[in-house]
C-alpha cells in the first residue's frame, strides 16, 4: 500500500469517527437501549459477572446472552464514565469497520482509490449510522468483527499465516452473537457458487468452512440452549410481542432500502455484483455476493430484523462498489482531461454527502430517543423515596432506564427472551394506563405485583396520555408530580385486588 493511501485511510477513519462523535455529543443523553447494556457493564465492574440473574428485570429473572461485548465495554468502563463509554467506545469500534472494508475491497479490486471510496461509503450508510450512533448497539462490535472474519477468510486462502487469526476471530464471533450462524449459511452458499461458477476449488476453503460449521453448530447450541429449548425455532423472533414482530421483522421495500443503504453503495454495489456475475468473476466478490444473497433471503423470509439485514447489506454493497468503481476510475484515466479522475471522486463525495444529509434531520429523532431530565429525576426520586424491593411500572422501553437510575424492579423491559405469555403481559401493561375503571386497573396492577406507577414525560408525549385514568385518592393516589408541562407523575398502589370479587 502506498504511503499516500495510508494517510487517506487514516483521514477517512478520523473523518468518520469525528462526524460520529460530533453527532453523538450533540445529543444530551444516551438512548433507552443503552441502559440495559450499561446495567450489565456496571455489574461486571462491581462483581466481575454480567446480569445473568437479573433481580430487577421483569421483577427478577434469568437471562441468557453472550457477554463478550459487555466485558469489552467494561474494560474501558474503568477509565470512562458511563456516559462517555456509550458515546465513545462503540463509535470507535464501528469506525474501524471502514478500515476493514478498505482492506477487503483492496483484496479483490487491487485498486487503492476505489477501496478508499468503499471505506468512505461505509462510514456514511444511513441505516448503519443512525442505528449505531448513540445506543451502544452490539452491532457496533459485531459488524467489524464479522467483516474481519470475512477478510481473514479471504487472506488465509492465500497465506496460511492468517489461519490462526481467522480461527481466533471466528471463535470470538461465534461466542459474541448469533449473527455467526448467518455467516455459516453464507459460506455454504459461497461453496455452492464456487462449484457452479467453475472456480478452481481451493483445498483449504472446504476445511475451514467445515471447521466453522461444526464449531458454530456446537457452540450455538451450547450458548443458547436454554433459550432454544424454551422458544424452539421461534427464538429468531426473540419472543417479541406480536405487535412488535411486524415492526421489527416487516417487509423490505425498494424505496426503503434505497433510503437506508444510500444511493451510491446501492448503485455501485449492484453494478459490482453484475460485473462479478457476467463479466469478470472473482472468488472474493463471490463470497460477498453469497453473503448479500443470504442476508437478502433471510430478510425476505422475515428471519433477520430488517434494520440489521440492511446494515449488513449496506456494508457488503459498499465493498462490492470497489469492484465497479475500479472500472470507472480506470476508464476515466483514459480521458485526456488531466483532472477527470479527481472530478469523478469529487462528484462521488458530493453525492455521498448529499445522500447523508437526511441524517442531520434525524438528529432530532435521536434527541427524542433519550430519557428526558425530568424522567431521570422521577426515577431518582423513586430511588430515594420508595422501599428497596418495590416494583415500578413504566413503559417497556423505559424499564432498563428506570432500573438503572432507581435500582428498583421493573415489570417489563425490552429483553423479552424467556418470558412466558409475553403478548398478554405486554398488552396488559400497555393498556393499564388507559383503564377507566379502578377495579380493572387494580386487577392488573395486583396481578403483576406493581407498587408504583410512573407516567413519564415520554409516555405522555408518545401516547398523548395526560393522566392515569384510573387514579384514585385512596387506592391509586398521585404521590409526586414534577413541575412543568407533561412532567412525570408518580402513583402509589395502595390497594390489592380481591380475587373473590
Amino acid at each position: 500500500m502506498k504511503r499516500n493511501t495510508l494517510i487517506w485511510l487514516i483521514l477517512i477513519f478520523v473523518l468518520i469517527l469525528g462526524v460520529r462523535l460530533f453527532f453523538t455529543f450533540s445529543i444530551d443523553g444516551v438512548s433507552y437501549e443503552s441502559y440495559s447494556i450499561l446495567r450489565n457493564v456496571d455489574s461486571i465492574k462491581d462483581s466481575g459477572l454480567p446480569l445473568f440473574n437479573d433481580a430487577l428485570s421483569f421483577g427478577g429473572r434469568e437471562k441468557f446472552f453472550s457477554p463478550i461485548y459487555h466485558y469489552m465495554l467494561a474494560i474501558f468502563g474503568f477509565v470512562l464514565s458511563d456516559f462517555l463509554l456509550v458515546k465513545i467506545i462503540p463509535n470507535i469500534f464501528i469506525s474501524l469497520l471502514s478500515v476493514i472494508v478498505f482492506f477487503i475491497s483492496l483484496h479483490f479490486s487491487k485498486d487503492e482509490e476505489a477501496s478508499l471510496l468503499s471505506a468512505l461509503f461505509v462510514g456514511f450508510i444511513p441505516v448503519l449510522f443512525n442505528n449505531t450512533i448513540n445506543n451502544a448497539s452490539i452491532f457496533s462490535f459485531v459488524l467489524p468483527l464479522f467483516f474481519l472474519v470475512v477478510y481473514l477468510f479471504l487472506k488465509s486462502n492465500q497465506d496460511i499465516n492468517y489461519l490462526n487469526w481467522l480461527v481466533v476471530s471466528m471463535i470470538i464471533l461465534v461466542a459474541s452473537h448469533p449473527m455467526s450462524i448467518v455467516f455459516a449459511l453464507g459460506l455454504l452458499v459461497y461453496l455452492l457458487f464456487v462449484k457452479s461458477m467453475g472456480f478452481r476449488e481451493s483445498s483449504k476453503e472446504p476445511e475451514i468452512v467445515l471447521f466453522y460449521l461444526m464449531f458454530v453448530l456446537w457452540a450455538t447450541i451450547l450458548v443458547y440452549k436454554v433459550a432454544l429449548s424454551a422458544h424452539g425455532f421461534e427464538i429468531i423472533w426473540q419472543n417479541l410481542p406480536l405487535t412488535l414482530v411486524e415492526q421489527t421483522f416487516g417487509k423490505i421495500t425498494l424505496a426503503g432500502s434505497l433510503y437506508a443503504i444510500g444511493v451510491l453503495p446501492l448503485i455501485f454495489g449492484l453494478s459490482g455484483l453484475y460485473k462479478n456475475l457476467f463479466s469478470k468473476k472473482s472468488k472474493a466478490a463471490t463470497l460477498m455476493m453469497s453473503l448479500a444473497i443470504t442476508f437478502f433471503i433471510l430478510m425476505f423470509l422475515g428471519l433477520v430484523q430488517v434494520v440489521v439485514g440492511l446494515m449488513f447489506l449496506g456494508v457488503i454493497l459498499s465493498i462490492l462498489s470497489a469492484y465497479a468503481l475500479k472500472d470507472h476510475i480506470s476508464n476515466l484515466k483514459k480521458f485526456k482531461f488531466k483532472y477527470s479522475k479527481f472530478i469523478l471522486i469529487l462528484i462521488l463525495i458530493i453525492l455521498l454527502f448529499a445522500s447523508f444529509v437526511p441524517n442531520f434531520f434525524l438528529l432530532d429523532t435521536h434527541k427524542k430517543d433519550i430519557p428526558s431530565n425530568n424522567d431521570i429525576n422521577a426515577f431518582l426520586w423513586i430511588k430515594n423515596n420508595t422501599p428497596e424491593n418495590s416494583s415500578v411500572l413504566v413503559l417497556a422501553e423505559e424499564g432498563s432506564v428506570m432500573s438503572y437510575y432507581s435500582n428498583r424492579k421493573n415489570v417489563i423491559d425490552e429483553n423479552y427472551l424467556l418470558i412466558k405469555n409475553i403478548n398478554r403481559r405486554y398488552s396488559d401493561l400497555n393498556s393499564v394506563y388507559d383503564e377507566a375503571f379502578l377495579t380493572s386497573a387494580l386487577r392488573t396492577l395486583t396481578f403483576y405485583s406493581v407498587n408504583y406507577v410512573v407516567l413519564t414525560e415520554n409516555n405522555q408525549k408518545k401516547f398523548d396520555r395526560r393522566f392515569f385514568r384510573a387514579k384514585d385518592n385512596v387506592c391509586l393516589p398521585l404521590i409526586k408530580e414534577f413541575e412543568g408541562n407533561n412532567s412525570p407523575k408518580i402513583f402509589k398502589v395502595n390497594c390489592l385486588f380481591n380475587v373473590e370479587n
Binding site: 421483569f58 421483577g59 427478577g60 429473572r61 434469568e62 496460511i160 489461519l163 483445498s203 483449504k204 476445511e207 475451514i208 467445515l210 471447521f211 460449521l213 461444526m214 464449531f215 453448530l217 456446537w218 447450541i221 451450547l222 440452549k225 432454544l228 429449548s229 424454551a230 424452539g232 425455532f233 424467556l418 418470558i419 412466558k420 405469555n421 398478554r424 386487577r443 395486583t446 396481578f447 405485583s449 380475587v499 373473590e500
Partner: protein, 469 residues
C-alpha cells in the same frame, strides 16, 4: 486405518461398552424401587400391560376410558407371562444387544467399509435415543428388532420374509412403509433381487393392512399419528428425549455428500435416507430407525475425515475433538437426565394423589400425566398421548386458559366442567416451563383465593385442591 488385530479387540469392546451404557441407568433405577422408572413412556406401557394382565381388555384404556391400539408386544408379554421386573430392567437391554448385533450384521452386508462400520457402532451406542429406547419400556424397540430381522431375512433371500413383512404391517404402518422403501431401493441399487419375495411380501402386507382396517377394531393408521414438529423435540441438547445430537445430524448430511461425491448412484439411497429423516421429525416412532442411518452416514463421514489428507492438519484434530466432545456430552447429559428423571419428591406427591376420588381429574403439565396415572391410579387432564385423539386441540386450549387465567369465575367454571379437583405444580413448571414468576397466571388465583387449598407441598411439588365454594 484399524489393523486386523485392533479390529478384533475393538468389536467386543464396543459391545461391552454398549452393554455398560445400557445397564448403568437401569441398575441405578432398579435400586430405587418399583415406582422409579427411567422414562415417562415406561409408566404408560407398564400400566397398560398390567391392565391387560389383570382384565384381558386390550382395546380400551380403562382408567381414562379411551380407545387404544392393539399392540402385539403387550400380547407377547402377556402370553409369555414375563414378570414386570424383567420387562422393566432386563428386556430392554437384551433387545438393545440384539439390535446392535443385527445392525452390525446388516451394515456389513450392505457393504459399508469395516472401519466405517466400527465408527457407526460407536455412534449408535452413544446415541441418546438408542440409550433411551433400550433402557425404557416402549414398543418401538420391538418394532425395530422385527424390522431389522426382516431385513436380514430379505438379504438371505429367505421366503420367511413374506409372512414377516405382513407381521410388520400388522405392527405399525410407518415401519411397513420404511421396510418397503428400503428393500425396493436396495433391490434397485443391487440389481439382484427376487421378484417373488418382493411381490409376495407386498401382497401379504396389503392383505394384513386391509384385514386390520376392516375386520379388527383397531386402526393401523393409529400408530402413524403425526407429532407436532418442534426443533426442541428433535435435538437432544434442547431437551428432546427421542432426539438426535446436532453434530451427528451434521455428520449425517456430510456423510451423504461424501457418498454423492464418490458415486452418483448413491443418490437414490441418500434421498430416501433424507426423506425418512424428515418423516421422523413428524412420526416420532421412526426416530429409533433413523438413528441407525444417521450412525451409518456419520461413521462414513468420520472415516473420510480420518483417511483424508488435510492441508491444515490441526483443523482435522480440532474437528475430531468437537465430534468426540459432542458425542460424550450428549450421552452423559442424557444418562444424567435419565437417572434423575424421577425424584422421590415427585413419587411422594403422586402417591399422595391416591387419596382422591376415582372420578376426579388431576390437572398438571402433560408430561406428568403417565406418572400420575400409574403411581396414583388417577385420571389426568392431558398426557403425552392425548395428541392422538380428536379432543386434543380443545383440551390444549383449555389447558392454556387454565395456566394463564386470572378470572376466578372462569377458572371455577372450567374446573367444574372438566371435573378437575387437584392442580399439581412442579418446580419445572414454576421455573420457565409454564410460568416465570411465583404469581404468574393462575398461580395468582391459587394463592389468593379461598376456593383452593394447598394440600401437599414439598421441595419439588405443590398440590392444590379445588374446594369450589
Amino acid at each position: 486405518m484399524f489393523n486386523t488385530k485392533i479390529k478384533k479387540n475393538v468389536l467386543p469392546f464396543i459391545f461391552i461398552a454398549g452393554l455398560l451404557l445400557l445397564l448403568t441407568p437401569v441398575l441405578l433405577s432398579l435400586f430405587r424401587g418399583s415406582d422409579f422408572l427411567l422414562s415417562e413412556e415406561s409408566y404408560y406401557h407398564i400400566r397398560i400391560i398390567d391392565q391387560y394382565k389383570e382384565t384381558g381388555v386390550y382395546d380400551t384404556d380403562l382408567l381414562l376410558n379411551r380407545p387404544i391400539e392393539f399392540n402385539f408386544f403387550y400380547f407377547l408379554l402377556y402370553f409369555l407371562n414375563i414378570p414386570n421386573i424383567i420387562i422393566i430392567n432386563m428386556l430392554p437391554v437384551i433387545m438393545g444387544l440384539i439390535c446392535l448385533s443385527l445392525f452390525y450384521y446388516l451394515i456389513k452386508e450392505f457393504g459399508v467399509h469395516e472401519d466405517a462400520s466400527i465408527f457407526s457402532l460407536i455412534f449408535l451406542i452413544s446415541a441418546p435415543i438408542f440409550i433411551y429406547t433400550f433402557t425404557s419400556v416402549n414398543v418401538e424397540s420391538f418394532y425395530l428388532i422385527c424390522l431389522l430381522f426382516s431385513f436380514v431375512l430379505f438379504l438371505k433371500k429367505s421366503y420367511w420374509v413374506i409372512p414377516f413383512s405382513g407381521f410388520i404391517a400388522f405392527l405399525n404402518i410407518a415401519y411397513f412403509i420404511v421396510f418397503f422403501i428400503v428393500i425396493l431401493s436396495f433391490s434397485y441399487f443391487n440389481n439382484k433381487f427376487n421378484k417373488k419375495i418382493i411381490w409376495g411380501s407386498l401382497i401379504t402386507s396389503l392383505i394384513v393392512l386391509f384385514v386390520n382396517l376392516f375386520l379388527f377394531k383397531h386402526n393401523p393408521f393409529f400408530g402413524f399419528f403425526l407429532n407436532n414438529f418442534s426443533v426442541s423435540s428433535i435435538l437432544i441438547s434442547l431437551g428432546g428425549t427421542k432426539a438426535f445430537s446436532s453434530i451427528t445430524l451434521a455428520l449425517f448430511f456430510i456423510g451423504i455428500f461424501i457418498l454423492w461425491k464418490r458415486d452418483f448412484k448413491f443418490l437414490l439411497i441418500s434421498l430416501i435416507s433424507i426423506l425418512i429423516l424428515i418423516s421422523s421429525f413428524f412420526i416420532e416412532s421412526l426416530r429409533i430407525f433413523v438413528i441407525l442411518e444417521i450412525s451409518v452416514f456419520s461413521g462414513i463421514c468420520v472415516k473420510y475425515f480420518i483417511s483424508k489428507k488435510w492441508n491444515v492438519a490441526w483443523l482435522k484434530e480440532v474437528i475430531l475433538l468437537i465430534i468426540i466432545c459432542s458425542i460424550i456430552f450428549a450421552s452423559l447429559v442424557f444418562m444424567k437426565y435419565e437417572t434423575n428423571f424421577m425424584s422421590s419428591d415427585y413419587v411422594d406427591s403422586f402417591r399422595f394423589l391416591k387419596t382422591m376420588n376415582d372420578d376426579e381429574v388431576v390437572f398438571s403439565y402433560f408430561a406428568n400425566g403417565f406418572m400420575i396415572q400409574k403411581i396414583a391410579g388417577k385420571k389426568t387432564f392431558l398426557d403425552s398421548y392425548s395428541s392422538a385423539y380428536v379432543t386434543y386441540f380443545d383440551k390444549k386450549n383449555i389447558e392454556n386458559e387454565l395456566f394463564y387465567t386470572r378470572d376466578l369465575k372462569e377458572l371455577k367454571e372450567i374446573l367444574k366442567r372438566n371435573k378437575i379437583s387437584h392442580i399439581l405444580i412442579d418446580e419445572r413448571m414454576l421455573n420457565g416451563l409454564v410460568w416465570n414468576g411465583p404469581e404468574d397466571g393462575v398461580l395468582f388465583l391459587l394463592s389468593n383465593s379461598n376456593s383452593f387449598v394447598k394440600v401437599f407441598d414439598n421441595d419439588a411439588i405443590t398440590i392444590y385442591r379445588f374446594v369450589g365454594n
